[in-house]
């Protein structure tokens, strides 16, 4: 190939790729606009949140347009010489992230956490973090995996420490950055070993070569194979940190406690969703090549992931019970929910193993695996509304009574009844009570676990633990509601009068939670879409 041909093919590749890179480009453009505003002093003329909202809405619009043509996006397309992959899964998560970003920006406007002076900085960090997450969900190369994780993390360290003068905030940011940087370093070392041993950093090529290694006669005794398994575990450490799985969860309660509730809500939903997208991609790419040859690996890894999930859910729920601070309680509940969602990934692995072991037929195994991942995606959608709703209400109440302690919520129902009802809907949905969205999310995942149990009994044990956890989690959520609804408001306590616009915001979120449980048409269409999206990854 001559030099001019090379340049031409690169140009063609780049122009083709840029056409599918619209939302990210818009967000980057918005970041630039925010920085320039700051430079020229325009932020005094136009409030920065208007620029941020406009840019995000355009990004959301582009993604939504792609989403409407979801069927048209057939084969996975590789962008930028194979660094990114553009398929239905990418579109689905871009839609999730941009919609969530719109909600978070609206929340920050309502509760006023970055003041006018700090607005451009805060929104720059927020949008930059989301761009990193969008790279994570479309990663097709180990470089993008690492870059995406770091681009998502580094701005969030700064956002956690955004309340500058507060002791708690600075302590939370320091703990977050120390744990986060350590986990990223360990992950990078794993990435370096993995790419070096397999001789490529492109995920599909790596999966093909890994397949050769596993199907070869070397087996686990070979030093190279053992090193590959170890380096995969190092990469998993980095992801487990993002997902706050036990034993890499220490940062989560401290960071959420010290950060403002808005930032905590952002971290608890967006970074979890992006990390789950990446985990599912990795798990299917690496373990899905040849289920028969991979039988042993799939089974043992699936059980290991299931055990981590069960321990994470149990730990999160037990630790949440003892909390007196609302943000800390929600942080432990976030950990527990990461555990529930990880169970879907474990179920998927075990079901694929079942397909290879002829417990299920090939087609059955595929559709059940699709159900498991579809359940995870549905859960993430419900989780967006219910968790953001809970954090938003914490932020609104904080602005009125200057406290986030559960005891100070006593008797709030007399002063802001509707907000308390919204909180009730969000918290009951977090428990998984019918007829709210959280019930169906849990139902899909538990059903997949039950199917996976037919392959290996350990999944039934995980299912039992998950069921017990659900019952147990009821107690600490109800404790909050008991304070809000039953306890009397102490004399002289601050009044919490919530303006209608904030109430409307909380109302939209909690009505979405209700609709995702009560409207059968909506539940069906969302879960069908989720299964369809999961299907593109599973079709070999």
């Amino acid at each position: 190939m001559s030099f001019s041909e090379l340049i031409q093919s690169l140009l063609d590749d780049t122009t083709r790729s840029l056409a599918h890179f619209g939302p990210e480009l818009w967000l980057c453009g918005t970041i630039l606009a925010l920085l320039l505003m700051r430079l020229f002093g325009w932020d005094r003329l136009v409030p920065p949140y208007i620029v941020a909202t406009a840019g995000t809405l355009v990004g959301f619009g582009i993604t939504y347009f792609d989403f409407l043509n979801l069927e048209a996006a057939g084969e996975a397309e590789h962008l930028f010489t194979g660094l990114l992959v553009y398929d239905r899964f990418t579109i689905f998560f871009r839609l999730f992230l941009t919609l969530f970003l719109v909600f978070v920006i609206a929340l920050t406007v309502l509760t006023g956490i970055p003041d006018r002076e700090d607005g451009p900085d805060f929104y720059t960090l927020l949008l930059g973090s989301v761009v990193g997450m969008m790279l994570m969900v479309s990663a097709n190369h180990l470089l993008i995996l690492f870059l995406g994780v770091e681009m998502a993390s580094v701005p969030s360290y700064a956002m956690v420490g955004f309340l500058k003068g507060r002791r708690l905030s600075s302590e939370a940011a320091l703990k977050f950055v120390v744990y986060g940087a350590g986990a990223a370093g360990v992950m990078l070392y794993g990435v370096s070993l993995l790419s070096g041993l397999l001789g490529t950093a492109n995920l599909p090529e790596m999966a093909a070569r890994l397949n050769l290694v596993v199907t070869g006669e070397a087996g686990m005794a070979d030093a190279t194979v053992r090193t590959i398994v170890l380096s995969l575990m190092l990469v998993f450490v980095g992801l487990a940190f993002k997902l706050s799985l036990v034993p890499f969860h220490f940062w989560c309660p401290d960071a959420f406690h010290g950060a403002s509730a808005e930032v905590a809500g952002f971290l608890s939903v967006a970074s979890k969703a992006a990390a789950f997208a990446l985990l599912v991609r990795l798990a299917i790419a690496f373990l899905g090549q040849d289920p028969v040859a991979w039988a042993g690996v799939n089974l043992s890894l699936g059980i290991a992931v299931g055990v981590v999930a069960a321990v994470t859910a149990t730990f999160g729920n037990l630790a949440a019970y003892a909390q007196s601070n609302m943000k800390r309680l929600l942080a432990y509940s976030t950990i527990a929910h990461a555990g529930y969602m990880l169970m879907a990934v474990a179920a998927m692995m075990i079901i694929r193993h079942g397909g290879a072991m002829a417990v299920f037929s090939e087609a059955e195994a595929r559709s059940e695996a699709q159900r498991a991942i579809g359940g995870l995606l549905f859960y993430l959608w419900v989780y967006l509304f219910m968790n953001l709703g809970a954090f938003a209400i914490v932020a609104m109440i904080r602005n009125r009574i200057f406290s986030e302690e559960i005891d100070d919520y006593a008797g709030l129902v007399n002063q802001c009844p509707w907000l308390c009802v919204c909180m009730l809907l969000c918290l009951f949905s977090l428990v998984g009570m019918p007829p709210l969205g959280g019930f169906f999310g849990k139902w899909y995942i538990f059903a997949s676990l039950f199917q996976a149990g037919k392959v290996h009994w350990s999944m039934w044990a995980v299912l039992g633990i998950a069921g017990l956890n659900t019952v147990f989690s009821l107690f600490y959520y109800v404790r909050v509601l008991k304070a809000m609804f039953i306890a009397p408001r102490p004399e002289g306590a601050r009044r919490a009068d919530i303006p209608w616009i904030e109430g409307a915001y909380a109302g939209i979120l909690s009505l979405s939670v209700l609709a995702l449980g009560c409207a059968p048409l909506l539940v069906n269409s969302v879960s069908r879409k989720a299964r369809e999206v999961a299907g593109v990854l599973l079709i070999p």
Binding site: R167, S170, E171, G185, T200
Partner: protein, 102 residues
């Protein structure tokens, strides 16, 4: 003696272990961050060595360039956070940050 891939990997592994030990034992916040830098550079040595000796090729060198830039960005953010911690606590001993627990 012929210097090959394994010698470079040993250097990388030593840097990685030194970094992890540094992260685990240092109580000074800046010391912990130095440990992180060691880990990142251990991985970088690996990347460059793999680029030279395996089919990974130029990908390895490109990744290491990206990592160098990212390490700088991360260090900038981390130092700003450490400075903010110092302003609020008058120390950068990470053990003194003990208000968040439970």
């Amino acid at each position: 003696m012929q210097i090959g891939l394994s010698e470079y990997l040993i250097v990388g592994a030593v840097l990685f272990v030194a970094g992890v030990v540094c992260m685990a034992t240092k109580r000074n916040g800046i010391g912990v961050l130095m440990g992180v830098e060691l880990v990142l550079n251990g991985a970088n040595v690996n990347f460059v060595a793999f680029a030279r000796y395996t089919p990974l090729g130029l990908d390895g060198q490109i990744i290491s360039l990206f990592v160098i830039v990212l390490a700088a960005a991360e260090a900038a953010v981390a130092l700003a956070i450490a400075l903010n911690f110092y302003n609020n606590h008058m120390t950068i001993d990470v053990d003194r940050g003990d208000q968040l627990k439970g």
